[in-house]
């Protein structure tokens, strides 16, 4: 909203039409005081399902209030529901619908046909909110990727730039606008997730700011990713926070949490560990104070918020994930909920056709809990997936066999009615069998086994203070640098730093083998603490490992009884912290908490009277665990496992800046100076 200093008391305010009308010479102000912009307000108005609308008159201007009323008359969500978001304990679809609504409203603001010019980075996250069909319904006829030079020809009334607030993108936009000769067009910018004065200043300097009819922001902080998962899809979050000391993402995190609280109620308890967690909590508490008066009157859905810094647990992402979903991510990489797989295994074998025309395009699959089979097997240790798949195969073929038993017309009809579902299940089974085969080829390889052995040695504290011959061999063999770095960092983390000699040796080997330019990358790793020089202090990793039971000898992969099954023995530290917090509480591990970086804290947020939950006997509490700097699929799996444990009494919803794995994580910390020498 505007920072307009004026108000009707000191003279009429200039605002957009609709806010102020003059009838017969008297100013009839719809609202003479626009309250401070409340981040969640728009979401909240659009959410439709929030309770107690009247309270929002407090913060809604009159005009907005009218919107509120009209919206509440409509069904909360129209159009395609996202099935995967509604089956969790918390209905995250409210958030998605709110985001969709806002998008539609913006598009309608630009009347006429439109073309969207995308900051390529945003297309993935937007895919989680809206498909192309939604855009099409609102007269989006063309889509381009933002790049320098001239805009591709398009016969449209509006050109809309969907961009992150980045200066370099502003320069490209300016170039686009300048070179566009048709002057009958309207230009618009939609900043995601927030508009920026700095960028507008740059546009002004470039002399194009005046060309834009609308400059708006689309607040997309937390994107619903799955039924129990929210992600900000902010790739560089860890690098920003821990390497560059740039707290932009943390600010967005705090804002996103405020939006979330506007929709799902104030979260009464906040716990946290780490510097970033502290910073986010501080910002949240301050933002809450800033909007004192616009009290949130929704019964809280979340009981607790746990903010965890990624650098509290540097070890977990480095380890190879051994769940089905984790392995898919490790090997093929899941981006924005999609995975691209080699096509060979997925060739459609039809009768009469040879396997001549193998598809060459990678097979793209969406992976989320909407797919029944995937929801069932994603969280299993990979060693248990085969059995699950074959069991499923039996069930499905039995179901198909049913047709022989169907005798009466009624029975046949019923069978036919189930057919689409069964066919979907069958194709889903075929897909996952293929994926599992692909993964199996890899996991049974010698290299995978060796790698895993070394990882487990490190995690159990075997010879972590010496040069590891496997790492040395990997370097000699010129294995992928990321793999080498991952192992090296792991050794350093498990040894609370490496001895000077060991560290220098590794670094030298790397520089000589992969090139001196990696000096910068190594430097980055040292700055973030992933690699470090062992100082005189004691190696406290064994203490942490023992106290938190990070290594479980007899991890049961088939029917797990502890979270350690997700890494076949290693229980992720971050999840252990979460588990201990729920029971018996962090007080029991004060010593260990002190060994981990950053402060740990607890804050309480006052709830308005009457909103204190009266808990039913045996009703679970809900905790939102927020990983600042990224979370792995295996950690999510471990938290899901805790939710399902009968006696845990706690359900977990996971939020993060970005879904990561060791490789994507290390990659985000690498610097690639490009050589100019011809």
């Amino acid at each position: 909203m505007s920072h307009s200093p004026g108000n009707s008391l000191s003279g009429p305010v200039r605002r957009g039409p609709g806010h102020q009308t003059l009838i017969h010479g008297v100013k009839v102000s719809t609202s003479t005081l626009i309250p401070p912009s409340y981040p969640g307000l728009r979401r909240l108005l659009d959410g439709g399902q929030v309770a107690g609308c009247s309270e929002y008159k407090l913060s809604a201007s009159d005009a907005d209030y009218r919107v509120l009323c009209s919206i509440r008359l409509q069904p909360a969500s129209r159009g395609k529901m996202a099935a995967h978001l509604t089956n969790g304990r918390v209905n995250l679809n409210i958030l998605r619908e709110a985001a969709r609504k806002e998008l539609r409203e913006f598009l309608d603001k630009c009347a006429g046909s439109k073309a969207i010019v995308w900051d390529e980075y945003l297309t993935g996250p937007f895919g989680l909110i809206a498909q192309y069909s939604l855009l099409k319904e609102h007269e989006v006829e063309k889509m381009f990727t933002l790049k320098g030079g001239r805009l591709p020809p398009a016969d449209v009334k509006n050109i809309i730039f969907f961009v992150r607030p980045r200066l370099e993108l502003m320069d490209i936009i300016a170039e686009n606008v300048f070179s566009d000769k048709s002057n009958s067009r309207d230009y618009h910018i939609l900043f995601v997730p927030r508009r920026s004065m700095l960028c507008e200043q740059r546009l002004k300097e470039q002399g194009v700011l005046g060309s834009f009819t609308n400059i708006d922001e689309y607040i997309l902080d937390l994107i619903p990713y799955d039924g129990d998962l929210l992600s900000m899809e902010s790739e560089g979050a860890f690098r920003e926070c821990y390497l560059e000391n740039d707290q932009t993402t943390l600010y967005h995190t705090a804002k996103g949490l405020m939006t979330l609280q506007a929709l799902y109620g104030t979260i009464p308890q906040i716990y946290g560990k780490g510097d970033c967690a502290r910073h986010v909590a501080n910002m949240m508490l301050r933002m809450k104070r800033e909007f004192a008066g616009s009290q949130n009157q929704i019964l809280p859905v979340f009981d607790t918020l746990l903010l965890l810094d990624r650098n509290v647990d540097l070890l977990t992402p480095l380890a190879t994930q051994l769940t089905y979903e984790g392995l898919i991510d490790e090997i093929y990489g899941i981006t924005n909920g999609y995975v691209k797989l080699p096509p060979e295994k997925f060739a459609q074998k039809k009768q009469g056709e040879g396997s001549k025309d193998l598809p060459t395009e990678p097979k793209k699959l969406q992976l989320n809990s909407a797919e029944e089979l995937y929801a069932e097997i994603r969280d299993k240790n990979f060693n248990a997936v085969g059995a699950a798949l074959s069991k499923k195969a039996k069930i499905i073929s039995a179901a198909f066999e049913e047709r022989h038993n169907a005798k009466t017309v009624g029975e046949i009809k019923q069978f036919v009615s189930q057919l689409p579902h069964m066919q979907a299940a069958r194709s889903s089974l075929a897909n996952h069998t293929s994926i599992a085969e692909l993964i199996k080829d890899l996991t049974t390889s010698e290299a995978f086994f060796d790698n895993l052995t070394v990882e487990q040695e490190f995690m159990t504290g075997v010879d972590t203070d010496k040069v590891n011959t496997y790492i040395e061999d990997c370097i000699s063999q010129k294995d992928p640098l990321i793999k080498v770095l991952r192992l090296m960092c792991m050794q350093s983390v498990c040894n609370n730093g490496l001895k000077q000699k060991v560290l220098d040796f590794y670094k030298r080997e790397i520089l000589q083998t992969y090139g001196y330019e990696h000096m910068l990358t190594l430097n980055n790793l040292e700055k973030t603490g992933l690699l470090k020089l062992q100082t005189n202090s004691r190696n406290n990793y064994p203490t942490i490992r023992k106290t938190l039971k990070l290594w479980m000898e007899d991890a049961n992969e088939q029917t797990p009884n502890d979270i350690s099954y997700v890494y076949s023995g290693y229980a992720p530290l971050s999840v252990r912290l979460t588990q201990v917090l729920a029971r018996p509480g962090w007080r029991s591990i004060e010593e260990v908490l002190k060994m981990l970086p950053g402060p740990h804290f607890e804050e309480r947020q006052q709830l308005p009277a009457g909103l204190h939950k009266k808990r039913q006997q045996g009703e679970n509490r809900t905790t939102l665990v927020f990983f600042l700097g990224g979370v792995t699929y295996a950690e999510i799996t471990a938290l899901r496992f805790l939710s399902q444990m009968e006696d845990s009494g706690m359900e977990y919803i996971i939020a993060t800046t970005k879904l990561i794995n060791g490789s994507s994580w290390i990659k985000s910390l690498m610097d690639h100076p490009e050589t100019q020498i011809p």
């Binding site: 920072h3 008391l9 009429p12 003059l22 010479g25 102000s29 003479t32 910002m283 610097d671 100076p673």
Partner: protein
């Protein structure tokens, strides 16, 4: 009830009434004669000023501002130039149009706010007449100059002057003119003698009144209705023409038989009017001319001013303030003599009831028999809203309440809201407040605006009272009022900053949504910077503090507040502001004290200003980062020499940072680059830019063994890595003899399994076998398996009695089913059990 209709006059089919609003408490020396008088609509304030031509040039006229009841709000001597016209804006600011085209704006208390000019040329030609009008865009000013040119400004808050085209044949001032609002356009209708012209932005059109023009006279007066929908023209022959303002339709034409030009002419209508009329004012006569042709005359004994309202006309005289309006239909229904309307009966019934007369029952029955009781109640409620006198209001409301008792399903909403509205209206109508709003006007203007107006008048306690009574949400009600109170408070002089801050924070403490930054900016505007800073401390939203702090040039404070807000964009904004404001050294020093800002600025520089980044590190003596900067900069250099010199800088910085490793590594890099260049020049090897390992690989591949060895020694490459490299290269070239020689050159630091593996990579099982025996026992199983010798592997495994290894071998032979395989399997199984037992 006869007295209620005493001031009613029939006009056509309707009645008109003149209600006294106030006895004016002002004391005017010469009445309203020869004065500029401006009264704002909606019961607004009145400004009075003696016309300048009536005073001797040496005397300064007095400008007085009164409430509608005549209470003085402000009075001050006019010190600027001669004033042509006074008028009020929609937000009750007083506009004074001077002869030279300057428009001065004052607030209700007589404080000067700002001024603007109606154009340069006006300074010469002078404003001969001006009109202040209200349009959907705001308050506008229209003037006509001595040289007969019109200039318009449709919104004084967004000033755009529009000079209208010339009117052909117009010399001097037009005989009369008015501003029209049509199709979202502002136009001027003017009469030049008997001719009418319509002026818009682009052209001047001559127009003819519809319905023929029997008026042969000269137009002397034009009046536009409150809603700009109707138009009335008066000719010097005494004819009054009425019609639509779009000049398409005529309503009527009436001969008033009065030929002298009127002083004022105003439309008198109301929403759902029965009988609209035009009020024409002469010195001694007020004539109400109905569109139908009927007239009512009111003789006047003193000079009057008419003020057009939404639902009537107010008459302002030195002694009285009256409202002339058409009697609303409901009131007529109830109070008309011998009315049998349901409302009238109900009122009567209640009156009888109060007298404990049984007639009450009769009346009630009569209404109920007609099934009109609901209507009766509604009528009474509605009529109560239209009545000015409290006892009439009470009588009507009591009657309504009485009637309500006999109804079961009547919604009480209307009753309650009228009661509330009247309570508020009666409070503001009180002579001490002096806002004579009618219910219709109140509904049109909304509570919000009424509260604004109370606040303009600094009637804070009443405004707060109204908000509390109406249960207006704090944000829109009490908080807003308090904020305005605080804003005006900080503009007062005299009190010390401390007292002021304590007073304001004490009063505002627990009101939600108070913007202290807004109050602070007011304090700053009135020159109290220190007070502003103190007040800003109370602002909860750090982000809000920043713009003002920047404006006050407290950039350091702004920076820390921006950081506190966590909004990095805001930090960037302040940083870029500070950067332009300070010299470089100070700027860097400022950043140095603000690590968050510093790292953000570094990010900015990394992407935008690499050179500045260097300076930043230099300033901070951050040698490590500076060295890293040089390293990455070296890759941007195109020429090798340049690159080497940048790298040398990196070495120096690493040394200063006591980072021995990096400095050595960088030196190594330089050495390698020189070596590569030399060899490239000599042999055209194309090595430049390769890593050391890749360089040696390339050298070995092209047979430059000696050079490779030189690098190996010179760079102290680990034996292991070099052996790997060498044996791989030999195998690649299939130089098996060389490989064998190499294996025997000394004890292999990588063991012999790699030899097996490289041979197998080239599928040379024969050569591979040579090395199997040399492999250490630990790796022997693997070696056998590599050359696909399961039996050998089995033997080795059994010999080692290693459970895991036996398992591995088993997993390797399970695929085949020949008899020898089966034998082998049995053997292994047996061994496994023994190993287990052990």
């Amino acid at each position: 009830m006869a007295f209620i209709t005493a001031n009613w006059n029939p006009l056509g089919e309707a009645f008109y009434r003149k209600v006294e609003l106030y006895e004016m408490s002002w004391v005017l020396r010469d009445g309203l004669r020869d004065s500029l008088v401006a009264a704002a609509p909606y019961g607004g304030p009145i400004a009075v000023m003696k016309e300048s031509q009536c005073l001797s040039p040496s005397v300064r006229p007095q400008l007085d501002i009164y409430t509608a009841s005549g209470v003085t709000m402000a009075t001050f001597p006019w010190k600027s130039g001669p004033v042509v016209q006074l008028g009020w804006s929609v937000s009750e600011e007083l506009l004074c149009v001077q002869q030279d085209g300057t428009v001065l704006i004052y607030d209700l208390t007589g404080a000067f706010l700002r001024h603007f000019s109606m154009g340069q040329e006006v300074v010469q030609s002078h404003v001969s007449e001006a009109k202040i009008f209200h349009s959907p865009y705001g308050t506008g000013v229209a003037i006509v100059t001595g040289s007969s040119r019109f200039t318009l400004a449709t919104n004084i808050d967004d000033l755009k002057l529009r000079r209208l085209p010339e009117v052909p044949g117009l010399q001097g001032a037009p005989s009369c003119w008015a501003v029209l609002n049509q199709d979202r356009q502002t136009k001027v209708l003017l009469a030049n003698g008997p001719e009418l012209y319509l002026l818009d932005n682009t052209c001047c059109t001559s127009v003819v009144l519809p319905g023929g023009s029997p008026l042969d006279g000269v137009f002397v007066h034009i009046a536009v209705s409150f809603s700009y929908k109707y138009l009335a023209l008066f000719t010097d022959t005494g004819h009054l023409w009425t019609g639509l303002a779009n000049l398409q339709d005529k309503l009527s034409e009436v001969d008033t038989k009065i030929r002298s030009p009127p002083k004022q002419m105003v439309w008198c209508r109301r929403p759902q009017t029965q009988q609209p009329s035009v009020v024409v004012l002469w010195e001694r006569l007020l004539l109400v001319v109905a569109v139908g042709g009927d007239t009512v005359q009111y003789p006047l004994d003193e000079a009057c001013v008419c003020v057009g309202e939404l639902d009537g006309v107010r008459l302002l005289s030195p002694s009285r303030h009256e409202l002339l309006q058409e009697v609303p239909l409901v009131c007529e229904d109830i109070f008309k003599i011998a009315s049998m309307g349901p409302g009238a009966l109900l009122l009567e019934a209640h009156k009888e009831y109060q007298k404990s007369s049984q007639k009450a029952d009769e009346y009630l029955r009569e209404i109920k028999e007609q099934g009109m009781l609901g209507d009766a109640v509604r009528q009474c409620v509605e009529a109560a809203g239209h009545e000015q006198h409290t006892h009439t209001q009470k009588a009507l409301l009591r009657a309504a309440s009485f009637g309500k008792c006999f109804l079961t399903n009547l919604s009480p909403e209307a009753f309650v809201s009228v009661c509330r509205d009247l309570r508020v209206l009666n409070a503001v109508r009180d002579p001490s407040i002096g806002i004579p709003l009618t219910h219709t006007q109140y509904k049109q203007m909304t509570v919000q605006v009424l509260i604004d107006r109370l606040v303009y008048r600094r009637l804070y306690p009443l405004a707060i009272e109204v908000c509390r009574y109406l249960k207006t949400p704090e944000y829109q009600g009490v908080s807003r009022i308090l904020r305005h109170w605080a804003c005006s408070k900080v503009q007062q002089k005299g009190e010390s900053d401390e007292v002021m801050v304590r007073c304001i924070s004490g009063r505002l403490a627990d009101s939600p949504g108070i913007s202290y930054s807004h109050i602070a900016s007011k304090a700053y505007d009135s020159g109290r910077t220190e007070l502003a800073i103190k007040l800003l401390d109370y602002e909860a939203r750090s982000g809000e503090q920043v713009p003002l702090l920047l404006k006050m040039r407290r950039s350091q404070l702004a920076l820390s507040k921006a950081i506190e807000s966590g909004d990095t964009d805001l930090v960037y904004t302040v940083v870029s502001y500070v950067k332009n404001e300070m010299n470089r050294g100070d700027f860097f020093m400022t950043l140095r004290n603000q690590p968050v800002a510093l790292s953000l600025y570094r990010q900015f520089c990394k992407l935008q200003e690499q050179e500045t980044l260097k300076d930043l590190y230099n300033q901070d003596d951050d040698h490590q980062e500076l060295a890293n900067y040089y390293v990455s900069a070296s890759y941007r250099e195109k020429r090798l020499e340049a690159r080497l010199s940048v790298l040398q800088s990196a070495v120096d910085e690493y040394n200063k940072a006591k980072n021995e490793f990096s400095s050595k590594a960088t030196e190594e890099e330089m050495r390698l680059l020189r070596f590569q260049r030399k060899l490239d020049d000599e042999k055209g090897a194309g090595l430049l830019g390769l890593s050391l390992q890749a360089t040696m690989e390339a050298l070995l591949a092209s047979g430059l063994q000696k050079q490779a060895d030189h690098l190996y020694r010179d760079f102290r490459v680990s034996d292991k890595r070099y052996w790997w490299l060498k044996l791989k290269s030999l195998a690649e070239k299939e130089e098996w003899e060389e490989l064998e020689k190499f294996s025997k050159s000394k004890k292999s630091p990588v063991g012999y399994l790699p030899f097996v593996e490289v041979c197998m990579k080239k599928s040379n099982k024969y050569e591979a076998k040579k090395y199997v025996t040399k492999v250490t026992p630990e790796q022997r199983v693997r070696a056998h398996l590599t050359i696909e010798d399961v039996e050998g592997a089995a033997d080795a495994a059994i010999e080692r009695r290693s459970e895991a290894e036996i398992g591995t071998v088993i997993s390797h032979c399970s695929s085949s089913s020949s008899s020898s395989q089966r034998l082998l399997l049995d053997k292994l199984q047996r061994a496994l059990t023994t190993a287990n037992r052990k």
